[in-house]
């Protein structure tokens, strides 16, 4: 083994086209031949104009969108490699539970479930005992300036920034080996942006491979090791 960190995520010739059957079968190609390699401990920032397909790529990597062609190879910490693009639903679910963490732009609020439980859930799913997970969740939430009085409340009534911080705590808490971040600081103030920069640095230090979309130049410059441009495709004829 050399000193170089090994790759965690390898995207090869990925295609993604949406077919809108309700619009007469309109085809919208978004990604064509996309390739990307991300190593352990590395943070890659996707760049490119709005609508170029950055979020689409991230969602393909998260398994939320199905790939149209190509491969998305995921290497788990034990060294096993799985092609997410060809995996069945249960394999994708297992990868998302154990290997791939995804912080979406918006929190999906579940009625009646307290913020603390939303944050603790992925840790419990990865096998942490319930009480330890709730304790770790509370610590992380305090660090993201979510005071204890909010922990027991469902986040439906929280502000956009508070909801995003719940989402971030949920995404970072479980320590996934691969992290996907879709504009993690979009609605945060300077103080909380600094907390997120710290969380990303710590995730890299423990060897996480990170792919993110960062519109905030300050955050991007602080965390990204390199940029990966996504170029918009010409419209299909």
């Amino acid at each position: 083994m050399t000193g170089a960190a090994e790759w965690r995520l390898r995207v090869e010739a990925l295609d993604k086209t949406f077919t809108l059957h309700l619009q007469g079968g309109l085809r919208i190609p978004v990604l064509r031949g996309e390739s990307l390699v991300v190593h352990a401990g590395e943070c890659v920032a996707l760049s490119g104009p709005s609508g170029a397909g950055k979020s689409t790529l991230l969602r393909c990597l998260a398994g939320t969108y199905g790939a149209g062609g190509g491969r998305i190879l995921v290497r788990d910490p034990a060294g096993a490699v799985t092609d997410l693009a060809a995996a069945d639903a249960r394999t994708v679910a297992a990868l998302r539970r154990n290997v791939i963490g995804y912080v979406s732009q918006f929190l999906r609020v579940i009625p009646r479930v307290p913020a603390l439980d939303i944050v603790a859930e992925p840790m419990i799913a990865r096998g942490m005992p319930k009480e330890a997970a709730r304790e770790a969740a509370a610590v992380l939430m305090r660090r993201l300036n979510l005071p204890d009085r909010l922990h027991r409340l469902p986040p439906a009534t929280f502000s956009g920034g508070e909801q995003q911080r719940v989402n971030l705590a949920r995404g970072f808490g479980a320590g996934h080996p691969i992290l996907l971040l879709d504009e993690p600081t979009a609605s945060l103030d300077a103080g909380n942006r600094a907390v997120v920069i710290g969380l990303i640095a710590e995730a890299k230090a423990r060897g996480a491979a990170i792919v993110g979309i960062f519109h905030d130049a300050e955050v991007r410059d602080a965390v990204a090791d390199r940029h990966h441009p996504i170029r918009p495709l010409p419209d299909a004829a």
């Binding site: 199905g66 679910a93 579940i110």
Partner: protein
């Protein structure tokens, strides 16, 4: 990975010329919630009835723990439905005994499973009523005096008291007010996670499927037109019918 708890292979059932099921196959694995969605008349409820042995398919077979349920015989199947299986009906009146008290409804299923000690049965009934958020002070009241949401929670307590491995749910939130639905869905979500239940959930409510199910299966006119990870099917639907179904949901 583990073997499936329940499998269906090529189920076909026609009522006259109308196909209710056309070559439906599926696997349900231990601890997972599989949602079956589609509009009325798509064959969802028929599928649930066939999977739970209440209707026989014309073609295909259903395996529970690898055993063909058609070869089990009536008595064994009834025993399964009393113990390892549970069935939650859309209308709680179909799953409850309306002339028996709330506590009796829960205790009765325990007795059918062989528990005899009266004090223990009553204690279990009390515990389960509390668990489904029914005031145990009402355990001697008849279900007819309960609201629709309470009746549905009582049916769930009656079903789960024997700790079934597999629960069939047919539109469990169907006839309820929206505010009551949210509470019931959250209750089901918590119980499924705590008890590690395997659930086949028939629903036309996409939001309920998203909340509860890891995988989803979309039916139309007796056929499975699409299936996969719930989030993927709802965020990136491939079949025209699924796209129509997903785009028809009002965002709240």
């Amino acid at each position: 990975m583990s073997a499936p708890l329940l499998s269906a292979e090529g189920l076909t059932l026609r009522f006259g010329r109308v196909p209710a099921l056309l070559g439906v196959s599926l696997d349900l694995f231990p601890g997972e919630v599989l949602a079956i969605v589609g509009e009325s008349g798509s064959g969802k409820t028929t599928l649930l009835r066939v999977l739970s042995g209440q209707a026989a398919p014309q073609e295909g077979r259903v395996l529970y723990r690898g055993q063909d349920i058609a070869a089990m015989g009536e008595a064994a199947l009834r025993r399964l439905l009393r113990s390892e299986w549970g069935y939650v009906h859309q209308n709680p009146r179909d799953g409850l005994r309306m002339s028996v008290s709330a506590g009796g409804n829960v205790g009765e299923r325990l007795m059918a499973a062989g528990v005899r000690h009266y004090g223990r049965i009553r204690a279990a009934a009390r515990e389960w009523l509390a668990r489904v958020e029914i005031d145990p002070a009402r355990m001697d009241d008849l279900p007819g005096t309960f609201s629709g949401g309470m009746q549905q929670r009582l049916q769930i307590a009656r079903t789960l008291v024997t700790h079934p491995a597999l629960v069939f749910m047919d539109e469990p939130t169907g006839g309820l007010d929206v505010s009551v639905q949210a509470r019931l869905l959250d209750l089901i979500r918590g119980l499924v996670a705590d008890l590690g239940l395997s659930v086949l959930l028939v629903t036309h409510d996409i939001a309920a499927a998203r909340l509860l199910a890891g995988r989803i299966l979309v039916m139309r006119r007796g056929e499975v037109v699409e299936q996969g990870l719930t989030e993927r099917v709802l965020e990136d639907p491939q079949h025209p019918y699924t796209q129509l179904l997903v785009s028809s949901v009002l965002a709240a």
